[in-house]
Symmetry: C2
Subunit: 223 residues, 2 copies
DNA sequence: GTCTATATTGGGATAGAC
DNA sequence: GTCTATCCCAATATAGAC
């Protein structure tokens, strides 16, 4: 059951190849050899296109134009491959959200762009497809769960800073708002995925922006 | 690939054994023979306890103390089993929500109970575990997706009626509110599952109730 | 480091007895 | 209508050549 100890995958099995604290900073793909990068990229494409069930060694190797055995060599076993895959998904998703939200100059503009951007994120079914594929596995596997939990902590932090970046004290009080914002994006993505025509995502986002406005203006006029 | 035609599973493959319109009314389990019911109940337990990957014929048969071959006889193949499983999950989840929300007499009390009940639903990781297990499959398989989409339509309808049951006209304007309510429950369940200690679900629900209050009181004072 | 070939396992489907 | 036994196949892991 245990993977052999000779390959470069040794370091992965300690669980500290990418400690959660650094997930938001480093690109986990950059340090990998070319073959491993190709394999990971192919796995991501397959996960998005055909789901978790399509993530077989043979399919990944074919999609990457690499040898099947290389997967075992670089990632040890399927668990190691999944951990690396989640790392790469976490990194990309987080960078996209940070870039999206921090582009605007003023706090008010940031919030509006955030709201508007989220509705586009919801409509982008592709990234959520991949996320919902790995979610059940992340909820079960402690190692994966820590990785994804760190991603979500970064999400909430980003939303909080987006609404009010004056200080850590008040920003921490905004964590419930960040939780709601993220929850609404995820939850609306579910409804959109289940019923693209019947679920009026834009209308729901409009209502949310309207309901949240008092809180945001209150923060704007506060010292 | 096609299942044989002799068993009682024939009717299932037309996709109209349980048309979506009736999912909220009938109990799909009631009409099944005892062996099929045992198998379905065992599959539900396995799905909640060990995830989708554990849903093998051998495991289900062992958990149900029935024969492996009976699965093929009653449900045709794995797709038929999944459809029946989703039907049973849909029915139970919906009935629980309806009962939860319609127990209170006045509209105001209903809303408060709804908010309060939702936070308990979020904390009940078990049912959401099963839901997140089947979600990726439901998003891919059209037949399953229709079933789950119908469930969500019922959810939104229930929330709308809970907030304001005076008439269909105003209730339809409340659909965005129902969407947000459901989305928040789902999204907070994700955050709770990923990080039970770090995610303050109760705090987020409190903030949501506070933000939603203006809309609810506006409805209360309207004619 | 990379690939080919293979061993081993386990799941899904089905024939046929009862 | 239910069960037992079996077949076929696909998937992972690994040994060993290059």
């Amino acid at each position: 059951m245990r993977a052999r100890q000779s390959g470069p995958d040794r370091q992965r099995h300690g669980g500290d190849a990418h400690p959660p604290e650094r997930l938001l900073l480093d690109d986990p793909m950059a340090a990998l050899p070319p073959t491993a990068r190709h394999l990971l990229a192919a796995a991501r494409r397959l996960l998005i296109r055909d789901g978790y069930g399509a993530l077989t060694f043979a399919a990944i190797a074919a999609e990457a134009d690499e040898a099947k055995g290389s997967i075992g060599y670089h990632f040890g076993n399927k668990d190691g491959l999944m951990a690396a895959l989640v790392d790469s998904l976490v990194h990309d998703a987080n960078r996209a959200l940070i870039r999206e939200s921090e582009a605007q100059p003023t706090a008010a503009a940031k919030v509006h762009v955030l709201m508007d951007g989220e509705s586009r994120i919801v409509a982008d079914a592709e990234s959520f497809q991949a996320f919902f594929e790995i979610l059940p596995h992340a909820l079960r596997d402690p190692a994966l769960r820590r990785r994804v939990a760190t991603l979500y902590d970064g999400y909430r932090e980003t939303v909080s800073r987006c609404v009010d970046d004056t200080g850590a004290t008040r920003a921490r009080r905004l964590r419930p708002f960040g939780m709601l914002m993220i929850a609404i994006v995820d939850g609306l993505a579910i409804q959109h995925g289940l019923d693209p025509d019947g679920a009026d995502v834009a209308g729901a986002i409009r209502l949310w922006e309207q309901l949240a406005r008092p809180l945001l203006t209150e923060l704007a006029v506060a010292p």
